[in-house]
């Protein structure tokens, strides 16, 4: 008999809280939009900072961490060092996120506590990933991307904690020096490089694409890594010219990566436009529009262009990339746990049967409308459009939660 291990599919009860909390935070972030008016459209506004942390920590990081519990062994081709550590990660991330969100809004005294709790959660995550990587005998490009991205996360959260301590008056550091370093290390260094590496494993796996060169991935990961280092140096030494170089390199890195995704899309044998495919199409389209709007910012110089670009990056690119993959990851884990032992013994569902068609389509349509309307609202300073976009996003988020719960509770 072959020994069937769960190395490549950890128990679903370990991962489920990440996905349930992540989808709830997606709803909270959508609801939060109702509190915005055009007067708040500034990167320095505490409401914007609080919102960014609610979405990035509560939704993006929560779901990425949960997904990594399953994806890391798949990508690294070895079992976790200690997958049980993930039981400690989500409660800490939940508490830390709430403390930081309320800290930015109501009391900066909460920020050091939130920062330390988030730091602890992420240190456990990064430590577990590093110890798992240590088991790998030979690093491939994708495995290296996991190592690089988690190294940047390590520094990104250290910068974040220092800023949180400074906000609260516990220590005195130059927040403006750390801000760009924090943003680039987390957004460019961790989230973007993680997406680059994992998507090149996952998208071909689901689309059955083969025989494409990984050279563009090498270039995009290398460029983004150099970008983050330059941005950190520019931030610390207040070198504006170096900042501009890093912005340009970041855009080039994302364009090269987008080109590779286009190649994979073009050669894909699996041409069905299911919820996964259309989510990814919207996601990568948002990335391209986000880049165009960012370029316009350099021409026009108005801050709302940069905010609109960030919005499209967060809710458009990250958001749809994550929700699209949720429709693949949750059915697989539930199927593995609930139905795989029944293979050959009774009729069991295929993974596609576990995806709720109506709520997934509703989620896609409402969220796509919401993201587009809010982007226009930010660009043209329209309070009415923010409300309209938020309404669509809340409807979409509710449909998303319904889909997640349906897949988790799926019975044949």
């Amino acid at each position: 008999m072959f020994k069937i291990s769960q190395d490549f599919a950890p128990p679903f009860k370990l991962i489920a809280p990440f996905f349930i909390l992540g989808s709830l935070f997606y709803l909270f972030s959508s609801l939060y939009l109702f509190s915005f008016s055009v007067d708040d459209f500034s990167f320095a506004d505490p409401k914007v900072i609080s919102f960014a942390h609610l979405f990035l920590l509560g939704f993006v990081m929560m779901i990425i961490f949960g997904a990594m519990a399953q994806l890391v062994p798949v990508v690294l081709e070895v079992g976790h060092f200690g997958v049980e550590l993930f039981y400690a990660i989500w409660p800490l991330l939940l508490i830390g996120t709430l403390l930081m969100v309320f800290g930015f809004l109501y009391s900066s005294a909460l920020l050091p506590y939130g920062g330390v709790v988030v730091l602890t959660s992420m240190m456990i995550f990064v430590g577990e990933i590093f110890l798992t990587i240590a088991k790998v005998k030979k690093l491939t490009l994708v495995m290296s991307s996991v190592l690089i991205s988690n190294t940047f996360l390590f520094f990104g959260i250290i910068f974040g904690l220092l800023m949180a301590l400074s906000y609260a008056g516990t220590i005195s550091v130059d927040i403006s020096s750390l801000l760009k370093a924090h943003i680039f290390a987390v957004l460019g260094g961790y989230i973007s490089i993680t997406i680059m590496g994992l998507s090149i494993v996952l998208i071909p796996m689901f689309t059955l694409s083969h025989s494409f060169s990984l050279r563009p991935l090498e270039i995009s990961i290398s460029l983004m890594s150099v970008t983050v280092v330059l941005a950190i140096l520019a931030s610390f030494f207040h070198l504006e010219w170096l900042s501009i170089i890093s912005y340009i390199l970041a855009i080039v890195a994302m364009l090269v990566y987008a080109y590779l995704i286009y190649i994979i899309y073009r050669i894909r044998p699996r041409k069905e436009n299911d919820i996964y495919a259309i989510s990814l199409m919207f996601s990568y389209s948002s990335l391209l529009v986000s880049i165009i709007v960012a370029l316009l910012y350099f021409v026009v110089g108005k801050e709302n262009y940069l905010l609109a670009s960030m919005w499209l990056l967060f809710f458009g690119f990250f958001g749809f990339l994550i929700t699209g993959h949720i429709y693949k990851i949750i059915p697989f884990l539930v199927w593995f746990e609930r139905f795989s032992p029944l293979v050959g013994k009774q009729k069991i569902p295929m993974l596609v049967d576990m995806i709720p068609q109506k709520s997934s389509q509703a989620q896609f349509i409402f969220c796509a409308l919401g993201v587009s309307l809010v982007a226009i609202a930010i660009l043209f300073n329209s309070n009415a459009l923010i409300g309209a976009g938020a309404s669509f996003l809340v409807m979409g988020a509710l449909a998303f939660i319904r889909s997640v719960l349906y897949m988790i509770n799926f019975k044949n």
């Binding site: 081709e77 494993v201 199927w335």
Partner: protein, 101 residues
């Protein structure tokens, strides 16, 4: 004299379906070769659509269980190879058509 023909082994393995794409492993073109000796020992050479397949171990188990249903089968040796790498041209026409390839 082989106890089972290649077709008989392929027929047995064709009961194993990839839950992600919904096609069996034989029509996907994932089973490269199969043979048996006169004592009922079976050898299967196969691949997977991706090295990072999270169902790797489980699919091998299903293939083994499917072959065990053949009468008087003894040892089953399943070799997973990555060369030649699988691509959609190895799949049956009905798979290509259904996927839109």
């Amino acid at each position: 004299m082989a106890m089972f023909t290649k077709d008989e082994i392929f027929q047995a393995v064709s009961t194993v379906v990839d839950p992600e794409v919904g096609f069996n492993l034989v029509e996907m073109g994932l089973i490269y070769d199969a043979s048996s000796d006169d004592e009922g020992n079976v050898k299967v050479t196969m691949t997977l659509s991706t090295r990072a397949c999270p169902l790797h171990q489980m699919i091998l188990q299903w293939v083994k269980e499917a072959i065990e249903k053949l009468p008087n089968v003894k040892e089953i040796d399943i070799e997973v190879v990555w060369e030649p790498a699988w691509n959609i041209s190895m799949a049956d026409d009905n798979v290509k058509k259904a996927l839109g390839a």
